[in-house]
């Protein structure tokens, strides 16, 4: 259970009905804490890893160690306790923690490998390296942009996965297939038209229109729900939603 007396005032926090991983990570309940940190790790491990590779120019092996150590510190040392959403976005806070950790690691030759002796998290670093090989390693000046883009990529990818499983559970695989063909597929030089998709899937154009509207509406809802889970207040959520949906930074 969350110990209300220990919970810091986050300023404009969500209603109690909304689950927030930031709040959960501060919970005294180990299961709640683990669930919250799993969510944060799932959204942020790739941005952190690629940021370390780009900004701190670490080798793949070194960046893996640092990433493991960073998330171990979130889990075991309660680094998130220091986070105040009134002062910075979670992304900004995490980046500054990564920078501090990298600077300390430079000085501390006795640094323990693989999360300071903890059981390492199961993170697919080979996958991240493969993506970096595809996109190229950003220069240090572009490391912040890389972090932001990877954050969006991770969050959208998680939303796409949830959308796929959610629609499959309702027997609406065709809705996801249409969405994937129209909004995810890079195979063709141009996007298929609704008429193309109608022919391909044996549907009417109206069906395609309606199915795509449903999938997009559901995708937006899931993406914003995921975002809400990884922000600590309504205000932070709104600001992050603006970034996620393509508004210029404030």
């Amino acid at each position: 259970m969350v110990d209300e007396t220990q919970r810091p005032d986050l300023g404009g926090s969500f209603p109690a009905t909304r689950w927030s991983a930031i709040e959960g990570a501060r919970s005294s309940d180990p299961n709640e804490r683990r669930r919250a940190l799993d969510r944060i790790v799932s959204v942020y491990w790739k941005p952190v890893y690629k940021y370390v590779r780009a900004r701190h120019r670490r080798s793949a092996e070194d960046a893996q160690d640092l990433t493991q150590e960073f998330f171990a510190s979130l889990i075991d040392r309660g680094t998130l306790e220091a986070y105040d959403p009134r002062r910075a976005r979670l992304r900004t806070f995490l980046k500054s923690c990564v920078d501090a950790l990298a600077a300390n690691a430079d000085r501390d030759a006795r640094r323990l490998k693989r999360g300071g002796g903890n059981v390492p998290l199961s993170l697919e670093f080979e996958l991240a390296e493969g993506e970096l090989a595809r996109t190229g390693l950003p220069s240090p000046e572009h490391a912040d942009d890389c972090f932001e883009k990877e954050w969006i990529r991770s969050l959208f990818a998680a939303a796409v996965d949830q959308l796929r499983s959610g629609l499959a559970a309702k027997g609406k695989e065709v809705v996801f297939s249409l969405f994937a063909r129209y909004d995810l597929d890079d195979a063709e030089p141009g996007r298929p038209t609704y008429a193309d998709l109608a022919r391909e899937f044996g549907l009417t154009t109206t069906d395609v229109t309606n199915h795509l509207a449903t999938a997009r509406r559901e995708f937006r809802r899931i993406a914003l729900d995921l975002l809400r889970e990884t922000t600590a207040s309504e205000d932070e959520f709104r600001r992050e939603a603006r970034s996620l949906l393509g508004h210029a930074p404030e």
């Binding site: 799932s42 996109t135 883009k149 991770s154 909004d183 509207a213 509406r217 995708f219 959520f237 393509g246």
Partner: protein
């Protein structure tokens, strides 16, 4: 977890932010602008075969506060039926829960682009006069704009103006009041437009905000606060640059001193030193355009003579011609 290419990310961003217009009468054409909490889209209304602008709230709104604010903005616009204010056609909620309103789609340059054009001084002043008249109408209906600036005014192809973006507008009427106030009634602050504009909230644009607005003294705002912003807009039209900080009006090359005095009076630091409302400012500009004396500028005899000469030049030369001809006749013929 799925790998998403940069192109797919971009498509997903569009997919997540584009309004789902299924169940509405509109068909999406393209995004035309973003700002604040909303995105504006160009859409088609096939039933009336016309294009409209859809202003869609696209920031998550758990508390419903922003939806209320946008709805109020639409309601404020709906009661401001004036040629200088873009009309609102419809307000509603999309299937995904986002609130939107449809309004006239306005094409044409913004006032800042117009000011940078080769428009003459008289054209600039007539344009300003129309802006002030639109704002005066809003004041008469008990509404303050609170964010007047060149970017929020469109100039149509026939010189017509449209005052846009009433997102920060403040209703000065109690919620139960009738929409129409008697013409000329004093505009006194009585209620807030929305929960975002509580005491101390600084909303507006620096350089165009009256000092009391910059200080966040919401309860002190009245028609004269918009008059300040109008003075800053007039300065922009005359100088083609933003007014200096602090509100003092420096000389502008080629701009007559009476107009600078009008600017200075509109942008006075103290409310009591400004024009009483936008109507008074519009009337002052009308006087200048008619060659009459402006209240803001105490004339010397020389200036008064020059102004009267400019105003009555034809009559003056007719009289001079008559006197010369009459004198010549008298001199040469003795008649």
């Amino acid at each position: 977890m799925s790998w998403l290419s940069d192109d797919a990310l971009s498509r997903l961003r569009s997919a997540a932010s584009a309004p789902d217009l299924s169940g509405t009468r509109y068909r999406l054409l393209q995004e035309v602008g973003r700002g604040g909490m909303c995105t504006v889209f160009l859409a088609e209304d096939p039933s009336l075969a016309r294009r409209v602008a859809l202003k869609v709230l696209d920031v998550p709104d758990e508390s419903g506060e922003l939806a209320l604010r946008l709805t109020r903005e639409a309601q404020v616009l709906a009661r401001l039926e004036h040629p200088g204010i873009a009309p609102v056609h419809d307000v509603g909620r999309l299937p995904d829960g986002r609130v939107y309103y449809a309004m006239k789609f306005v094409e044409g340059p913004r006032l800042d682009a117009f000011a940078a054009s080769s428009a003459t001084l008289a054209e600039r002043l007539r344009t300003f006069q129309r802006i002030a008249e639109a704002v005066a109408f809003a004041h008469d209906r008990g509404v303050l704009h609170r964010d007047l600036k060149p970017e929020n005014v469109m100039v149509g192809p026939f010189g017509e103006v449209l005052v846009m973006d009433w997102g920060l507008a403040k209703s000065l009427l109690p919620a139960s009041s009738d929409d129409r106030t008697p013409s000329g009634a004093s505009v006194l602050p009585t209620s807030e437009a929305g929960p975002h504009t509580g005491h101390g909230a600084v909303l507006g644009t620096p350089g165009y905000m009256a000092p009391e607005q910059e200080r966040g003294e919401v309860e002190q705002l009245d028609a004269r606060s918009d008059v300040y912003a109008l003075g800053a807009v007039l300065f922009f039209l005359l100088a083609v640059r933003n007014p200096p900080a602090g509100g003092s009006v420096p000389p502008i090359a080629g701009v007559p001193r009476p107009l600078l005095a009008v600017c200075g009076k509109a942008m006075a630091a103290e409310k009591r030193d400004r024009y009483a409302d936008a109507s008074a400012l519009a009337a002052e500009i009308a006087r200048y355009l008619d060659g009459r004396r402006v209240e803001a500028y105490p004339e010397s005899l020389i200036h008064k003579t020059a102004r009267l000469y400019a105003r009555h030049k034809v009559a003056f030369w007719l009289i001079v011609t008559y006197v010369v001809v009459r004198g010549s006749l008298l001199f040469f013929t003795g008649r």
